[in-house]
């Protein structure tokens, strides 16, 4: 039996594994994917200092370091269920069943789908799928694509597609409907776009971010947003148009684009066809939390963190004994934050396993997460810190209730 089992070989899981192993624990990491690295694998962007953040290299660096420290990493291992007995956690996989005292869930994030008519056609994929095909497998998702959904993730990936020589016809919004909601409202989208504006070579977007600090200005911004869109990395971004339909006989042949008003409503008769051979749907990321849910963790819906997150403290402990979380399962942020969280989780697990003298290191690692967050190049949600504060308040309330020994809602 290993001292600790980690589910997820992404940046959080691997960095936790490295930290645990450095503190003398025996570590077993499992992941269902065929390569270690998780979502970090596909990442590729130029950092402010001019160097490139290359997810493939960063993943192998973490993986090699883990292996050197004796961490056992097993890929191709989907976990079906986890369960707590009186003394340990039981991990059920498609093959064997494993047991451990300390279990870290570093399952990462998944992409929210945005149903647009025609979205089941072959050639329509999530924007992350196109990223993995391009940067990891090095296969073009197509020759000319359209990205539906304008946010931090899709803007970064649009640039990556261009870099690989793939034409991006435009980035645009889905047609407003009950399900697309915020993602289809130009004002909300502009808000999120302004947040990645420092990455944009476009003067309009860059200037806009300085000017449009309040709602009134944003509304004005959308109103005066050029009908033909602005360009970012030479890719037209259309906030005043929306995809009505993806069409094609047996596979994607193009999209139908229509003008929308400032509230996202389609202007009838303005439909126009845009030929393309693939379409990326960018609905944003949400924490992948099923295993924390089956384990019985209390959950909170915190929009600033990307969805439902399991209750946990700054030390990355959940309210369940021996169960920890790190990385995007705790909220949508960049890989560097995930690596920092993995370190904290690893140190906490080491301390709870009986390693002495880690108090200060844990304290410092918690501060390091905060620092990394402040310096993040890509922030997925403008108010991540507020989200973290909300969850921390929930934790304090939870602890106060437990301390008073009041039977509470979580038990």
């Amino acid at each position: 039996m290993h001292d600790v089992i980690i589910i997820g070989a992404g940046p959080a899981g691997l960095s936790a594994a490295i930290t645990c192993a450095k503190n003398g624990l025996s570590v077993f990491v499992m992941d269902e994917y065929l390569k270690p690295g998780g979502r970090l694998l596909g990442q590729l962007y130029e950092q402010p200092d001019g160097s490139w953040w290359n997810g493939v290299n960063e993943s192998s660096r973490l993986y090699d370091q883990a292996l050197d420290l004796g961490v056992h990493v097993q890929l191709h291992t989907p976990v079906n269920n986890i369960e707590k007995t009186d003394t340990e956690w039981v991990i059920y996989t498609e093959g064997e069943t494993y047991y451990t005292k300390h279990l870290l869930l570093a399952t990462g994030a998944a992409e929210s789908p945005v149903p647009v008519p025609g979205w089941t056609l072959p050639g329509v994929m999530s924007v992350g799928a196109a990223q993995v095909m391009t940067n990891v497998h090095r296969v073009k998702p197509g020759e000319r694509g359209v990205i539906i959904g304008v946010n931090a993730l899709s803007s970064a990936i649009a640039m990556e597609l261009k870099l690989a020589g793939i034409d991006v016809a435009c980035m645009t919004l889905p047609k407003l409907s009950q399900v697309t909601d915020h993602a289809a409202q130009p004002k909300t989208v502009l808000d999120s776009l302004l947040h990645v504006s420092h990455m944009a070579p476009s003067q309009f977007v860059r200037l806009g971010s300085k000017l449009m600090k309040n709602d009134f200005m944003k509304k004005l911004g959308v109103t005066f947003y050029p009908k033909n869109g602005v360009k970012m990395w030479d890719i037209p971004i259309q906030l005043r148009k929306a995809v009505v339909e993806i069409y094609g006989d047996g596979q994607v042949e193009g999209i139908t684009l229509a003008n929308v008003d400032t509230n996202g409503e389609v202007v009838p008769g303005s439909e126009k066809k845009v030929p393309c051979d693939f379409v990326c749907i960018a609905g944003g990321l949400y924490p992948l939390t099923e295993l924390a849910a089956v384990a019985g963790c209390p959950f909170y819906l915190i929009d600033e963190l990307g969805g439902y997150v399991p209750l946990h403290n700054e030390r990355m402990e959940t309210s369940l004994d021996g169960l920890y979380v790190a990385g995007n399962i705790t909220g949508i942020e960049g890989a560097k934050v995930a690596i920092a969280q993995g370190e904290t989780a690893g140190l906490t697990i080491a301390q709870n396993s009986g390693v002495d003298g880690l108090d200060r290191e844990i304290e410092e690692s918690i501060q390091a997460i905060e620092q990394t967050r402040n310096n993040a190049y890509i922030q997925f949600h403008p108010h991540v810190k507020k989200g973290k504060r909300l969850l921390q308040e929930q934790w304090e309330e939870y602890v106060a209730l437990s301390d008073k020994n009041v039977p509470n809602q979580y038990v």
Partner: protein, 112 residues
């Protein structure tokens, strides 16, 4: 037709891998050893991985990282294998699933 990105301005040259032969719906194709079945098929210009069990509509990859199960195929006789998670091996026999009979509805259509 999709194709491989052999040269990349930042990621450099594509990693050297052994070429392997596999079949998809009885046609023979070449792919790279241990790449995902989904990547190998896309590199060969194949986007339709299966037809929907009920509607018969064509389906391809969607999420590419194992979450959505849209890319399920039959590999060496085993059904429901996710093409995006499964490494390609020499001699693999990959088949796509198709429409299945919907007995109650079909009966109703014929008797209504």
């Amino acid at each position: 037709m999709s194709q491989r990105i052999l040269e990349h301005p930042v990621l450099g040259k594509i990693e050297e891998k052994n070429s392997v032969t596999f079949t998809f719906n009885n046609e023979t194709y070449q792919g790279l050893e241990n790449e995902s079945i989904a990547a190998a098929l896309l590199a060969n210009g194949i986007r339709t991985l299966r037809h929907h069990e009920e509607s018969g509509a064509p389906r391809g990859i969607y999420c590419n990282i194992g979450h959505c199960f849209e890319c399920r195929v039959t590999v060496n006789g085993q059904q429901g294998v996710r093409a995006c998670l499964t490494p390609l091996k020499e001699g693999m026999v990959v088949e796509s699933g198709g429409q299945l009979p919907t007995t109650v509805r079909d009966w109703r259509n014929n008797h209504a």
